[in-house]
């Protein structure tokens, strides 16, 4: 399938994907070094979906995300340093340390709120689009959520309402259960759905529904262009199920760096791929896949991709330093922002 904007656009989206990958590697290292504690989730393996869908949005549009939000924030233009500072609980974080990794969001970039409760933000995405429709802003919304969200009743209610009330919202279910170990095998498959698929439900409600390989940058880019055009034109919901193979580092509850820091050269030098996680490196990793496609299309050569990577890494290293230098919040502000308006 041809991308919506040709090789140059794919290269740009690849930049977003790579930035997300390097960002997540920094998050992993910060956790491993003990700079923050608690549970956290990485977007590795799903970068193509977030980058391609969000790449089609304008400033009037909004997105809503989940516990696995880092990639959505970055694709929407979030500042990596402020995002890392937020994950570290620093005053310089996007939310002053109140949000943490679970709830990264930034109203300044059209991302008002992130719910870490499964399915929690799906109705908010529809509501934001409903508001935009009534206020005639011309904006639409995208709700990102996992396959697990389909086990929650509120998601069904929202789909039905979005269709009934003709709400201009794009639902993007990132189904990462393919390839996941089940819980009985010690893994963390995130849903128990018939056939492992969610798309029959929106189809049954009459919502235009598409299934796409979520790790295929070009395919998601093209589909997202069509789907968002349709949402804007028809003023009703469209549903996309993006299937991605589970990243080996995501098999248990806590991420592991099972596949190590991404070696971009594997995209053009198959000799660097060993036997361990061979399938991931050779076929599944969306970053390596996109790099191979760019080389194929002649959009860039290996040297250009490597130079791009060096730049991205330098940017993330700087973001890491900025975040670590950010001061801790002032405990005296612990009661701020509970209610809007003057303190009471």
């Amino acid at each position: 399938m041809a991308g919506a904007g040709g090789p140059a656009r794919l290269l740009e989206l690849f930049g977003t994907m790579l930035a997300t990958r390097r960002f997540e590697e920094v998050v992993y290292a910060l956790f491993a070094e003990g700079h923050f504690s608690g549970h956290y989730h990485l977007y590795i393996g799903q970068e193509a979906t977030g980058a391609a869908v969000i790449g089609h949005l304008s400033g009037r549009d909004t997105i809503f995300s989940t516990h696995r939000n880092h990639g959505h924030l970055l694709a929407r233009g979030g500042d990596p340093a402020a995002a890392l500072a937020e994950i570290l609980g620093r005053a310089g974080g996007i939310g002053g340390g109140r949000l943490g990794t679970f709830h990264l969001a930034d109203p300044a970039i059209g991302m008002p709120h992130t719910s870490a409760l499964v399915g929690g933000a799906v109705p908010l995405a529809a509501g934001s689009a409903f508001g935009a429709k009534l206020l005639k802003t011309g904006g639409v919304s995208v709700g990102f959520f996992g396959d697990g969200a389909f086990e929650e009743g509120v998601v069904f209610e929202t789909l039905n309402l979005a269709q009934l009330w003709r709400i201009p919202v794009l639902f993007v279910c990132e189904n990462n259960t393919p390839g996941a170990l089940t819980r009985a095998e010690g893994g963390s498959n995130t849903s128990y759905l018939p056939g492992g698929r969610v798309s029959p439900v929106p189809e049954a409600l009459g919502i235009p529904t598409h299934v796409v390989d979520g790790a295929d940058l070009e395919a998601v880019d093209a589909l997202a262009a069509d789907a968002l055009a349709r949402v804007r034109r028809d003023g009703g919901p469209v549903f996309v199920e993006a299937l991605t193979i589970r990243w080996p580092g995501n098999q248990s509850q806590y991420p592991t760096m099972a596949t190590g820091e991404t070696d971009l050269a594997m995209a053009w030098d198959a000799g660097r791929i060993g036997n361990e996680h061979r399938g991931w490196f050779a076929a599944d990793d969306p970053v390596l896949r996109a790099a191979r496609r760019l080389l194929e299309l002649g959009a860039a050569d290996a040297a250009a991709l490597q130079a791009m990577d060096a730049q991205v890494r330098a940017r993330m290293a700087a973001a890491r330093e900025t975040a670590l230098a950010s001061p801790l919040p002032d405990p005296a502000t612990a009661l701020d922002h509970v209610l809007a308006g003057a303190a009471r």
């Binding site: 923050f36 504690s37 608690g38 549970h39 937020e86 609980g89 620093r90 974080g93 002053g96 340390g97 109140r98 949000l99 943490g100 990794t101 679970f102 709830h103 719910s115 870490a116 409760l117 499964v118 399915g119 929690g120 697990g148 969200a149 086990e151 929650e152 009743g153 819980r183 009985a184 995130t190 849903s191 128990y192 801790l328 919040p329 405990p331 005296a332 502000t333 612990a334 009661l335 509970v338």
Partner: protein, 320 residues
């Protein structure tokens, strides 16, 4: 033995003993945050253990119906914040079942959650829903603080004929302590004197008992003897134990991780003001989580926490 080992021990024992203890959802192994060997339990009772999808409302509703049909389901919801998804099924259906049958139907299910500030849980993974639950009729509430009570109260919860919400504090799961062997039951509605003292009564439950004991230890160094009352269950509540203690000390501090409005501390203070006004030398003091959401940043989280330092300071304020 750790708290979580003791808790799970009670469940294993009940499942082996009574085939009505039937729906132990598969996420139970996650109760501990520590990997526990559940393999043989699953093998022995495969038909009574099922894996939960992310469907809190449906699961609590199905467990309620199954309890009406004669099972004694144990439903681990995981993080207490997720229980709100099942609120309607819990409050209206499980909580209403007995009343709505004019006393003929019972719904003996146990809902298990891990509540509280866990360090980095943030707004949506740190809830302490016990005060909100306490406002609902028809539901028993157990909140142990020791491994022995975790075991003994769980047994009582399983064999109680009412819906029970069983709350473990996230930070108690690794607490060590002696645990009686065999079938150990701790009745609901019997508070424990976790530490005797003559000067002031500190009432607490769950992790706040640990904080109160730490406060009592520092106060003792200054010659102030705090009596720590561990409520163990909120429904039923052992009012007598609280009033007896206040009768001896004349002073009351209540330590509570809920935000102050309509909290555990509010209810205990009101109860003592109403029924033991003459016993009090000073107005009761509530030590609560400050009235805000729980921030993700540890610095802001710490600023909200009712801890030993704040409990000790509250006691000192009563002692002049």
């Amino acid at each position: 033995m750790t708290y979580s080992e003791a808790l799970l021990g009670a469940i294993v024992e009940a499942m082996d003993e009574d085939e009505r203890v039937a729906l132990v959802w598969g996420s139970l192994g996650g109760v501990s945050g520590i990997k526990l060997d559940f393999g043989s339990l699953r093998d022995r009772h495969a038909d009574r253990i099922v894996d939960p999808p992310i469907s809190e409302a449906g699961i609590v509703g199905i467990a309620t119906g199954a309890a009406m049909a004669g099972l004694r389901p144990i439903v681990p919801i995981g993080t207490g914040s997720f229980l709100f998804r099942a609120w309607d099924q819990l409050i209206h259906e499980a909580g209403g079942a007995h009343y709505m049958s004019n006393g003929r139907v019972t719904a003996p299910l146990v809902i298990h959650i891990r509540h509280g500030m866990r360090g980095g849980g943030g707004v949506q993974h740190s809830q302490s829903p016990q005060a909100m639950l306490w406002n609902a009729p028809g539901i028993e509430i157990a909140m142990p603080s020791t491994p022995a009570d975790a075991k003994g109260l769980m047994r009582t919860a399983i064999f109680s004929d009412n819906p029970t919400v069983f709350l473990d504090h996230q930070m108690l799961l690794r607490r060590e302590g002696p645990v009686p062997d065999g079938k150990h039951a701790v009745p609901f509605g019997k508070a424990a004197v976790a530490r005797p003292g003559r000067d002031v009564t500190v009432v607490a439950a769950s992790l706040q008992v640990v904080a109160a004991l730490a406060a009592a230890a520092t106060l003792a160094a200054d010659g102030i003897e705090a009596e720590v009352i561990d409520l163990r269950s909120l429904v039923p509540l052992d009012q007598e134990a609280i009033l007896n203690s206040v009768g001896r000390t004349g002073r009351l501090v209540v330590a509570d991780e809920c935000a102050p409005r309509c909290s555990i501390a509010s209810e205990i203070a009101a109860t003592v003001a109403e029924k033991g006004f003459d016993l009090l030398k000073k107005a009761p003091v509530r030590v609560n989580r400050l009235p805000s959401h729980v921030a993700s940043s540890p610095v802001l989280e710490d600023a909200l926490r009712p801890d030993a330092g704040r409990i000790a300071a509250a006691v000192r304020g009563l002692m002049d």
